[in-house]
Symmetry: C2
Subunit: 363 residues, 2 copies
C-alpha cells in the first residue's frame, strides 16, 4: 500500500507518521515542508473557547485531540523532542463583556471535566506579574502549547525513521493513481491524501467539485525575545470582542498572534502587521515594548467552505483529504492524523472525525 | 611603514584604503568588520541642515566631504560598486516651525552654492506622490545617498586588492608599537589608528586621558521593501522639532531611521523601536504600513565628549584617532580618510580636518 500525502505541513506530516506506524508506505510531497501555516503558528493548545459552545461536532473533535495529545507526543518523542508544554493557559478579560465570555467558557470547561480556576484581578496579577489591569481571569492548569517548529521537525524525523519518504517537489496534476510533479516525474499511489492547505485545489486533474475549495486566510505572527521570560504561561487576552494570544517558549521567545486578513495568497509580513501586534500586546503586557525583535511571519490558514475541518475520503476513489483546519491545525493534528490513519488502513476512525467528511460538500 | 587600523567600520576601512593608495602597508583589525554602526546606517548624504548654522568647522568638514564624494566613489568603483546615488534629497516640513527651519537651511545652502529649490505643497505632492500633506519642501537635486553595506564591502575589496590585510580579531591591549589580540597574538605597528567607534577606549594600555572617551548613542533603523518603489528620492521629514529620514534603494528597499537612545552598549532592536519608526513613517507616507518588513537593526553611534569628530594624532606618539563621527560617519568618510592618509604619510591634511584634532581634549 503506497500512500502519497500531498502537503508537508503539520496535518500532512502527522497523517504520514500515524499511517506509517500502521505499516503504510508513505511518501510526503511538498516543495518546502514545514514552512507554511504551521511553521508560523504559535502552537497554542487551549482547552476551550466560548465560540465552541453549540458547535458540538467541533467541540468533540477538539476534546478528542486534547485527550490524544499526551500519548501522541510521548510516541513521537521516541524519535525527537516535540516541544510540548502542559504548564497552563491563562485567559484574561479586559472588560465586563469579555469576562462574561470567559464565564461561559468556564461553564463549558467544567461541564467537560477540564480543571479550571477563576482568578480575581489580584490573583491574575499575582500569578502573572506585569499584566495590565484586568477584570478577571481563568486558569486552565492542565493545558498549554506546543512549538510547531519543533513538532514539525520531529514528525519529519519520525516519518523518515519509519521508512517514509519526503519529496521536496510540487504536485501539479493528479491522474489515474499517479501524481505528476513540477519536474515532470510521476509518482504512483494506491491512495492519495490531499493535505496541502489552501493550495490543495491548485492541483489539476480532479473532476469539478470533487475537492472542496480551501481558501487562504492570512495571519501574521510576531516573535519577540525576553530574557528573563516575561510570561509564565500561554496567555490569551480578551477585549472588545477580539483576542490576542501570547505563547512563551522555554528559550525566552514570546510568540504573539495574530492578525486576520482575507487577502488571497498574499503572504507578505507587513509594517502595519507588526505595529498592530505590538500595540495590542503592549495593552496586555506593557513591558513588551522593550523586548528584542525576533521575527514577523505570515501564514495562510486553510479555510473550508464552512470553516470546519475536512477529514476523510473524497468522492474520487482512493483520494482522501485532510485540510481546512483554519486556526486549529496544530491543535487538531493528533485526532486528524489518527482518523486519517484509520481510513487509510480500512479501519473505523474515531466517531468524532466522521462528521468532517469531505462528502458533506457534495451536492 | 606598517599601519594598524583598529576598527573595520566605514571610517577604519576608508582610512585604510586611502592610506594604502599612498603606499602605506595597512592591517585592519576588527572581530566583525562592517557589521556595526555603518552597517546599520541609512547612508543619507544631505547637503545641509539647520543645525550646521554657526558650526563653522563642522560645516566646512561636511562640505569638503561632499566635494570629495564623487571622486572617492569613482576611484573606489575601480574595485567594486559603491552604491552611490545623487538623485536628490527632498526635505519636507509638516508644520510652520519646521518650514522656517527649512528656510534657514535653504539660505545656508544657497550661501554655499548648493543647488536648492523651494517646493510648494502642491509641488511636493507632484514630485513625490503619496506624501501626507506638507507645509512645504526643499529639493536639493545634486545630493542623495550611498548604501553603506555596498560601500563597506567595496572598501574591504579595495583594501585587500592593494595588499592590505583584514584580521578578524579583537585588539585587547596596546603596548610599545604592538597590539595584542584576543587570541594572544601580537601585531607590530609603526603607526596605529584607533577607529573602533564607541569601543575605542575599551582597548587597554593607554595612559589615562590620552584617548578621548567615545560613548555609544543607540539608533534603531528599519528596512522595509516596496515593489514598486514608494519613494523617488531620499526624503527627510521635519515635524515638531524632530526629523525622520527615509532612504530608498534601487531594489525597492526603504531604509527608515532612526531612534535616539542613550542606553550604553545596548544593541537590542526592540518592539517599541520598530513601532515608533513605523508610526512616524506612516505620518510621512501613509502607504508605508502595507510594505513588507525587511529588517530592524540597532547601531551605536560614536559620540565624542563634544559630539564632534576626532581626527588626527593623539598625545601618544605614533597613535592616531578617527572616531566620534556620531551621525555622520558615512557622510564624513571621504574627508576623514583623506585627512588620515595625509597624517599617516606625513603630509599636510586638508585644512578642514585640522580643528578636529584629538589634542583638543588634552588639558
Amino acid at each position: 500500500m503506497n500512500t502519497v500525502v500531498v502537503g508537508g505541513g503539520v496535518i500532512g506530516l502527522a497523517t504520514a507518521w500515524r499511517a506509517a506506524r500502521r505499516g503504510v508506505t508513505v511518501t510526503v510531497i511538498d516543495p518546502a515542508p514545514a514552512t507554511k501555516a504551521s511553521h508560523v503558528s504559535a502552537g497554542m493548545l487551549p482547552p476551550g473557547h466560548e465560540q465552541l459552545i453549540g458547535q458540538e461536532d467541533l467541540l468533540r473533535l477538539c476534546m478528542t485531540s486534547r485527550d490524544l495529545y499526551p500519548s501522541f507526543v510521548a510516541e513521537l518523542e521516541e524519535f525527537a523532542p516535540a516541544g510540548f508544554r502542559r504548564d497552563g493557559v491563562l485567559d484574561v478579560a479586559f472588560d465586563e463583556d469579555s469576562m462574561r465570555s470567559l464565564e461561559r467558557q468556564r461553564d463549558l470547561q467544567e461541564s467537560l471535566g477540564i480543571r479550571t480556576r477563576r482568578l480575581s484581578p489580584e490573583e491574575c496579577d499575582a500569578f502573572q506579574p506585569g499584566l495590565a489591569p484586568v477584570v478577571g481571569g481563568l486558569l486552565s492548569p492542565d493545558d498549554g502549547s506546543i512549538d510547531p517548529r519543533v513538532l514539525n521537525a520531529a514528525l519529519i524525523t519520525a516519518v523518515e525513521a519509519l521508512g517514509g519518504t519526503v519529496v521536496r517537489r510540487s504536485v501539479v496534476r493528479v491522474g489515474d493513481h499517479t501524481v505528476t510533479l513540477d519536474d515532470g516525474d510521476a509518482v504512483a499511489f494506491d491512495r492519495l491524501v490531499l493535505a496541502a492547505g489552501c493550495w490543495t485545489h491548485h492541483i489539476g486533474g480532479f473532476p469539478d467539485g470533487a475537492v472542496p475549495e480551501i481558501r487562504p486566510v492570512k495571519g501574521q505572527v510576531l516573535r519577540l525575545h525576553a530574557d528573563p521570560a516575561l510570561l509564565k504561561v500561554t496567555t490569551r487576552a480578551f477585549a472588545k470582542g477580539s483576542s490576542l494570544y501570547l505563547v512563551p517558549r522555554p528559550d525566552g521567545e514570546l510568540v504573539i498572534g495574530s492578525t486576520y486578513e482575507e487577502r488571497g495568497y498574499d503572504e507578505v509580513a507587513t509594517a502595519e502587521g507588526i505595529s498592530a501586534l505590538i500595540a495590542r500586546a503592549a495593552k496586555v503586557i506593557p513591558g513588551v515594548g522593550s523586548l528584542r525583535f525576533g521575527e514577523i511571519s505570515a501564514g495562510l490558514r486553510p479555510g473550508s467552505p464552512d470553516d470546519l475541518p475536512v477529514i476523510g475520503p473524497t468522492a474520487v476513489p482512493d483520494v482522501y483529504m485532510a485540510s481546512g483546519h483554519f486556526r486549529m491545525g496544530v491543535q487538531l493534528a493528533p485526532v486528524t492524523a489518527e482518523g486519517m490513519a484509520a481510513y487509510l488502513t480500512d479501519t473505523a476512525p474515531h466517531a468524532s472525525v466522521v462528521p468532517f467528511t469531505p462528502l458533506r460538500f457534495s451536492s
